[in-house]
Every structure is written in C-alpha cells, then in structure tokens.
C-alpha cells in the first residue's frame, strides 16, 4: 500500500502546484488514490510480483494522471451502480463511482494484461499556462 500513498501524495502536490483549492485537491487526490487502490487490489490482486505504474502530466490545460496495473482487466460497463437501492448497503463498489464523480474525464484502456485508467482534470482559465 506504500505505492498507493506515494501516488496519492504526488497527485496532491501536482494539484497544489496547478493552483487548485483545498476542496479540489482533496477530490483529485482521492480519485487518484482510488484508482491506485483498484490497481493494487482488484487489478493486481495484491500479487507482489505485479506492478502498478503512474504518470502525471500538466499540459497547460489539464492535469492528466494515468494509472496502470498488470491484472486481468476491467470492464467498467459491468460495474453495478453503487447508488441503486439494492447496492446502497454493499461494503464495496464505490471506487470507480468516486473517481468518475471527482474527475472531468475518465478513460479505460485494456492492456492485455492489465487496465490503464486515465484521469483528466481541466484547469480553470486562470490556471492555464499560455
């Protein structure tokens, strides 16, 4: 889980440097943490021989964070809706929902093996670099 904390801290630093306020930093860091947890837990199944990779980019208009695992792959279309009444009291299944709620764009890509999540947060016009 140390890798998850490292990725979360890097996301928070990146958001701070981009000028996001505390609430937005929290949301972005949490989305990135959830993606990293998913990669370690559900993607790599806690297998220490498998790795996760993370990359961070500020292209002047958006923050783009990519998290990849080496697991069996994930079909986001098959995930149950955590807000459905029958799922509300489930102990799991909220991670991807939170990621989608906190980011502007979320993209899934199958790597064979593995899944790559790309999380995008747009910068406000005042934050953009010319």
């Amino acid at each position: 889980m140390e890798s998850v904390s490292e990725v979360e801290a890097a996301a928070d630093k990146m958001a701070a440097e981009a000028g996001f306020d505390e609430d937005e930093r929290f949301r972005l860091a949490m989305a990135v943490r959830e993606a990293a947890v998913n990669a370690v837990l559900h993607g790599n199944d806690y297998d220490p021989s498998k790795r996760i990779s993370a990359s961070f980019e500020n292209n002047g208009q958006s923050l783009i964070i990519t998290i990849a695992d080496e697991g069996r792959g994930l079909d986001p279309e098959t995930l149950p809706d955590p807000l459905a009444p029958e799922n509300l009291l489930r102990g799991t299944g909220r991670g991807i929902f939170l990621i989608r709620s906190f980011m502007d764009e979320v993209h899934f890509r199958q790597l064979h093996p593995g899944t790559e999540l790309t999380l995008v947060k747009h910068l406000a016009p005042a934050q953009e670099k010319s």
Partner: protein
Amino acid sequence: MALTIASREVDGVTVVDLSGRITLGEGSVQLREAIRDLIGKGQKSILLNMGDINYIDSSGLGELVSAFTTSKNQGAALKLLSLTKKVKDVLQLTKLYTVFDIYDDEASAIASYK
C-alpha cells in the same frame, strides 16, 4: 495520519471518538475490530464521533456501512456524530447520508437513544 480510536460512556451510550483517516490500510480494519469488540461486549448504543476524521475513502465508506449493518443485525444502533465537510460531501455523493442517523451535537445524539 492513521486512525486513532478511543471509547467513553455517556448515559449508557458508547461514544467512539475517531481521529485521522479511515482508509484501506490506515484505519478500516481497526474500525471494524473496534465495532466488533463493542458488539461482542453487548453494547447496543454506539455513537461514532467523526469530528476529527479528515479523510475517508471507498474502503472506509464500506467499513462504515458494514459497521452499520452488523450493528443492526445484532440489535444495536450505530449513529454518526459531527461529520467534517469532506466526509459529509462523500456521504452525500454516495447517498449514504440517507442511510445513517447523523447528528451535529453530542447531547442531541445521546438523547436520541432514549
């Protein structure tokens, strides 16, 4: 900061003061064990004081839900006290705000068990 847990009794209610983060690997297991321990001792009125919880992730949310359902199944009432803005936002987003009995002040929360 990892989770710290301290319990006290107020008018027959076990108030569990939580501080730190409830996340995978940093508190969710401790919270599960603390609730299990209280229920095992026959506690029926449990109030989780969340005033010093500054972070909760999906694993922590799952642990709160599990604590709630476990308590209910054992005939105990688990309620929440003093949510911070961040925790409240996440509970509202996930619709869990409607699941829990939530109070802003301790006296009202304690009185609700009578």
